[in-house]
Amino acid sequence: MLDATPRESVMERKGLVANPCKTCQPVGAIYAALGVHGVMPHSHGSQGCVAFHRMFLTRHFKEPVMASTSAFTEGASVFGGGANLKTAVNNIFDVYNPDVIAIHTTCLSETIGDDLHAFTSALDIPEGKRVIYCSTPSYVGSHITGFASMAAGFVDHLAEQTGTSTNRLFVIPGFVNPGDMRELKTYLDAFGIDYTMMPDTTGVLDTPMTGRFELYPKGGTPLAEVKALGDARKTLALGSWASEPCANALKRKFDIDFDVQGLPIGLQATDDYIMALSDFSSLPVPRVVDDVRGQLVDSMLDVHQYLSGKRVAIAGDPDTVIGLTRFVLECGMIPAFVGTGTPGGDFQKKIAALCAEYGIDEEACWCKAEVDYFELHQRIIQNPVDLLLGPSLWKQIAKAEDIPLVRCGFPIIDRYMHPLMPIVGYRGALHLLQMIADTLMDRQDRLCEDCDLEFVM
């Protein structure tokens, strides 16, 4: 596996990206758009873009992923995609009848300079329906940027202010699975907080088998709640890469204050989330929350000896990787390699600060933004680790170097049920902890001498 990768040294590259650790904006925009009820995501570009995006999201969620396309031809690329968009919008409303068409751009339509504001202003939109758009050029940022842009697009185009506060908390969950969103909601519900979560893909990309396909499944943030965001009391943005732009959009538009936190992965980040909910509601933390937190701490103590000192390589999306790194540190493990493909932000600084907080030497943690899996592999060959943490994209390296892999984050295209299981919140941390401990202990069992096989562990 990966036999062509030179093992002697790491070559610095300026032009070639090999085995990328990110993908392009539009796929994130589609994921965000699916998190509002009754929306048809629409890709303004060549039909290949949306074919790839639907394929990829389906492979991760194992669920139907609906999205339409302007289906650019060479002619449209020369003369602009306005006519294609018009036909598409007419057909979508006629045949698929969504409440909202949420358009995102592509590198194609951005490069030719299609003006979505002008195009959408000229559309003949049926009564009560909406067409919104956001700009997601594939040559800027990553899928995380696209997710953030589409979430902000909903606020920009749909949020309204009546002047009467709903007193609601607006929670932006970040680029996480529906299983994570459900977990985040259990705490909001435990406090009895009135909230709007957007995007919210629960009930959309984790639907039950009923024998009936729903084009617009019952989940997703209700449109009325999206509109009412202008009357929210406060925004809680989880993950600065995926969620802050949307919080910012609402601040700009209606001056609604926001807090940005890291994704609540692990103990302390979840504590921060709980404290934020307590602050917002001015309520004490419900006992049930104490109990599940206590179970997590208890379990972390229980398995500590099997995790302590283990060197871990972590890759994936920045908000997720920062959360995972903190949790790894909380478990007494060493984040030996930490990488994300997404550019921008203060990723390295944040990782360095976490390591400093837990007394890990600067040299003990190699960290890079805009990394690719090829480089991570080359570096791991030089300095092996005990565990890989992140998406399926680690898979080849795991096999090549015989390093156990615990799958979490996006995308997981070679295993099932992950989108249903949380990695955020205390229960998510328990789930992660169980996967990590099981994986490391299974390996110990498999590799030890017969006489060393522990019947009880």
């Binding site: 993908t23 796929v27 039909q47 594939s138 040559y139």
Partner: protein, 554 residues
């Protein structure tokens, strides 16, 4: 005519399924989509015509991909000894990384780059100032790291728009580094589907790769397998059969394929065309340039595998070879017969719909028939009319604005490399006796009256046809898979084989039958409705319940 309304119309039995589905459209889409549908009727005097390979109607939720997907994803992706660099923003390289199941093992030179994805990861500044420098840098780094036998450069949408000259970069790089560098202008917006990309890839392979190494085959009987991408190991199973028969496989285009092998493919005795759509261009051009005949084979299905092997033997006209082929067929058939009979007993009477790329919707109909499964609907994502109606219609296909920009290479016999194999008389005799020699008849001829052919089937039509035709199994791709499964219809992916396979050849037929049987007879299908669904609403003693409720209040 909103979505919900068409559902009601779907229940009307007065109209044909085709008319019922079309009724869901407004006038313009109705007119457009009607031309892409045919209810097969062999009794008609003139053959039925279907519209294909024309632009998709925007907004109807097509399943089609793009030119880049056809070029890089399909044809070039499986080539293991070439460094294929995607010049563009990161997405296109990312989505074609390791996801198409074209299996490969390192060749004699130890090289296998199939598990990698390479990109120039163009950023905003590259779009503004041009990406040629970065591309050159990427080629240099790639060559230094991997020492590939060739570098393939595939362009994505913005590259064509900003005017990066990838062909000039390839030429400079080839001179500078002494490694063959071939550029493919396969921007996603070109053509109307993946099909344009197949053609562009084929053209460049003919121009720059095929015919460069005159090392002759070792055996007396040698072939190339064209349009076999080794999905799930199909190509390996086909090769195994051919080798057993004593037939040398010089090159496979392009499953587990190599530039080194393709360079000497013109020395083979015969071209076998598995996927007609994606690679008939190469078969035709190699015939003109090198005098190599081609036969349309089909190694999916038991009967068609037998037929294909016999056609090859008939072409070479050697009695020893024929004897070996017959012996292999007899042995392989004996090995699988019990299994096939068993699965047939479990599957007979089922019906299937197929919507796949440009060949499989036809190829699998025969295998399904052998298992007792009737096809009620078949459609192609990106085929041309000849794939539906047969090559006899090629001359009558209209060239439109979208297709005329896809270059058609005009090739001539190559001096010193053109081999005359048979006299014109003998050739005519072979053509009349071997079905599929230089000819493909399309899918329609093998379809039953009353069944449906639908080109570029979209989501709306899929849902409606499923309601009307109620197939027991729908063979399609990942975008459809869970739509169908949620609807309670068995769905198998015929692009990726749902990560199983191989399905080619005799043993593959058994694998396919096993997987279909397993899926159709999964115990879970009967347990979708919860047991309380059909229970009486009220149960138990009312007085007792009231008492309990009171107790609760205390």
């Amino acid at each position: 005519m909103a979505y919900e309304v068409t559902e009601e119309r779907g229940s009307s039995h007065a109209k044909s399924p085709m008319e019922t589905v079309l009724d869901g459209y407004e006038a313009k889409s109705y007119k457009n989509r009607k031309r892409h549908m045919v209810t097969v009727d062999h009794a008609l005097e003139t053959p039925q015509e279907i519209t294909a390979n024309v632009r998709t109607v925007p907004g109807l939720l097509t399943h089609r991909g793009c030119c880049f997907a056809g070029c890089k994803g399909v044809v070039l992706g499986p080539v293991k000894d070439a460094l294929t660099i995607v010049h563009g923003p990161i997405g296109c390289a990312f989505y074609t990384w390791g996801t198409r199941r074209h299996k490969a093992v390192p060749g004699d030179d130890g090289l296998n780059l199939v598990p990698y994805a390479f990109s120039t990861d163009m950023r905003e500044s590259d779009i503004v100032f041009g990406g040629e420098k970065k591309l050159m840098q990427a080629i240099e780094e790639g060559i230094e790291l991997f020492h590939p036998n060739a570098v393939f450069i595939c362009s994505t949408c913005p590259v064509g728009l900003i005017g990066d000259d990838i062909h000039a970069v390839a030429e400079r790089a080839e001179k500078k580094f002494g490694v063959k560098c071939v550029a493919f202008s396969c921007e996603g917006y070109k053509g109307v589907s993946q099909s344009a990309g197949h053609h562009i890839a084929s053209n460049q392979l003919i121009r720059r790769v095929i015919g460069e190494n005159d090392t002759p085959p070792e055996g007396k009987f040698s072939v190339n397998i064209l349009g076999e991408y080794n999905i799930g190991g199909d190509g390996w199973e086909t090769e195994r059969l051919l080798r057993r028969c004593g037939i040398e496989v010089v090159s496979v285009m392009t499953g587990d394929g190599a530039v080194a092998a393709m360079q000497r493919s013109h020395m083979a005795g015969l071209n076998l065309v598995q996927c007609h759509r994606s690679i008939n261009y190469i078969a035709e051009m190699m015939q003109t340039q090198y005098g190599i005949d081609w036969i349309k084979v089909n190694f999916v299905g038991v009967k068609s595998t037998v037929k294909s092997l016999r056609a090859i033997a008939a072409y070479f006209g050697d009695s020893d070879l024929s004897d070996r082929v017959e012996a292999v067929i007899a042995e392989e058939l004996a090995d699988i017969q019990d299994d096939i009979d068993y699965y047939k007993s479990r599957l007979t009477g089922k019906t299937a719909a197929l919507y796949v790329g440009g060949s499989r919707s036809h190829h699998y109909q025969g295998l399904l028939r052998e298992l007792g499964v009737a096809t009620v609907l078949a459609g192609y994502e990106f085929a041309h009319r000849d794939d539906y109606e047969g090559r006899e219609v090629i001359d009558s296909i209209k060239v439109d604005a979208d297709n005329k920009n896809i270059e058609t290479l005009h090739v001539e016999p190559v001096d010193g490399k053109y081999h005359v194999r048979f006299s014109p008389e003998k050739l005519e005799e072979l053509k009349s006796s071997i079905e599929g020699m230089g000819y493909y008849g399309g899918m329609v001829k093998e379809m039953e009256n009353g069944t449906l052919m639908v080109d570029d089937l979209n989501h709306f039509e899929t849902e409606e046809f499923v309601k009307l035709l109620k197939p027991d199994v729908f063979f399609s791709g990942i975008k459809d898979k869970f739509v169908l499964q949620k609807s309670g219809v068995v769905s198998r992916q015929l692009h990726s084989y749902d990560y199983q396979g191989p399905y080619a050849g005799f043993r593959g037929a058994v694998n396919f039958a096993h997987d279909l049987d397993m899926e159709i007879h999964s115990p879970i299908w009967d347990r979708i409705a919860p047991p309380w669904r059909n229970r009486p609403l009220l149960n138990g003693d009312i007085a007792d319940a009231a008492q309990k409720s009171e107790g609760g209040e205390k």
